[in-house]
Symmetry: C2
Subunit: 190 residues, 2 copies
DNA sequence: ACCTGAACACCGTTCAAGT
DNA sequence: ACCTGAACACCGTTCAAGT
């Protein structure tokens, strides 16, 4: 495997294991078997390395979503599967999830990263559209509806990760909240 | 003003102006007119100082929400005003907003910070409840409904802050998305 | 009780070399 | 072309004093 791939992989592993602060160039270099400043021969700086991690992570998500999209399932089931994908990702890789969806630097980035991110949203949007076409979601503008549903899972996951979702206090789980949302959004079958 | 208040204020100002990375203890100390390690006489460490900033910020938000809650407005208008409060806060103090609602350390914290955070949610929940009672929101469990609506603004604002809300690409603004959500949630006046 | 200056370990980044 | 080791500036944190 080429050095740059190994650096990205090492950075991702450190990120998952210890959060963003654990991703030091020294640790990344060491984990990849090179010196602490070899990364600079492959990436402009630490941010660029993290951006590369984000890009491959978006690509992974996009691929998983493409598989769901192609599968033989009802649109509603596809949407559920996609939402579950996000939930699992957020819970198994919280720091990575934050890097993808909650990081000012990721926001500012363009190039490869931006393209991969847009691909991910495009899959999501398409699945939401299928649900609309089968009359399982209201006929609001597709972009608005898709961003609304995505933002809701995202927001719920953020709050959950922040420990501000308190099932014991009457607040509900991400799953339950999403079910309620989709239930309320579903057009009454008149 | 006491030194600890001045330290919190200086930290908040630096946070708003330059993001979390700009909040170095050296800069905070300097801005407050003390040495770079005087903060340690008032706070256990940098995290504790940021937690104090979060606590006063939550208190400010809670107070603004209490005012809205007490005002002579329809429940729906109160809810709108509260949502606008979050939107303004996120746009005017993005780094601070992230500290409050998107920070693993804030999550782990207890004490004063946790209490202030819960107070904020309590106001929000109460306003949502008013909307339910006047039949402007469906009769889902209050905790679930409140967290759902809050998570949605929060998620939309996170995406907006991340530059992933693209009005030009058919995705919509936070305001428009929230209006659609509340419109769809509103029980049909039968 | 509250503050300061020196010191330490760690980090991102740069630079001059090495193959 | 790719990598390394030394060096620099900066940071959080600790410690021994100072009033």
């Amino acid at each position: 495997m080429t050095t740059d791939k190994r650096l990205i992989e090492a950075a991702a592993k450190l990120l998952d294991a210890g959060g963003e602060e654990a991703v030091t160039l020294r640790a990344v270099g060491h984990a990849a078997g090179v010196s602490h400043n070899a990364p600079y021969k492959h990436f402009a700086n630490r941010s660029a390395l993290l951006a590369a991690v984000a890009a491959v992570s978006f690509a992974d998500l996009a691929q998983a979503m493409a598989t769901i999209r192609r599968s033989r399932r009802t649109p509603t089931k596809k949407l559920m599967a996609t939402l579950n994908l996000f939930m699992d990702y957020s819970r198994e890789h919280p720091a990575r999830y934050r890097l993808l969806f909650n990081n000012p630097e990721t926001a500012a980035a363009g190039g490869e990263l931006k393209i991969k991110a847009l691909e991910t949203f495009e899959h999501f949007r398409s699945i939401v559209q299928e649900c609309q076409e089968t009359n399982n979601l209201p006929s609001a503008p597709i972009g608005t509806l898709a961003s609304l549903i995505f933002a809701t899972v995202h927001g719920l996951l953020a709050i959950e990760g922040n420990g501000q979702l308190h099932p014991e206090k009457g607040l509900s789980s991400v799953e339950a909240s999403m079910e309620i949302l989709l239930g309320l959004l579903a057009p009454s079958k008149a």
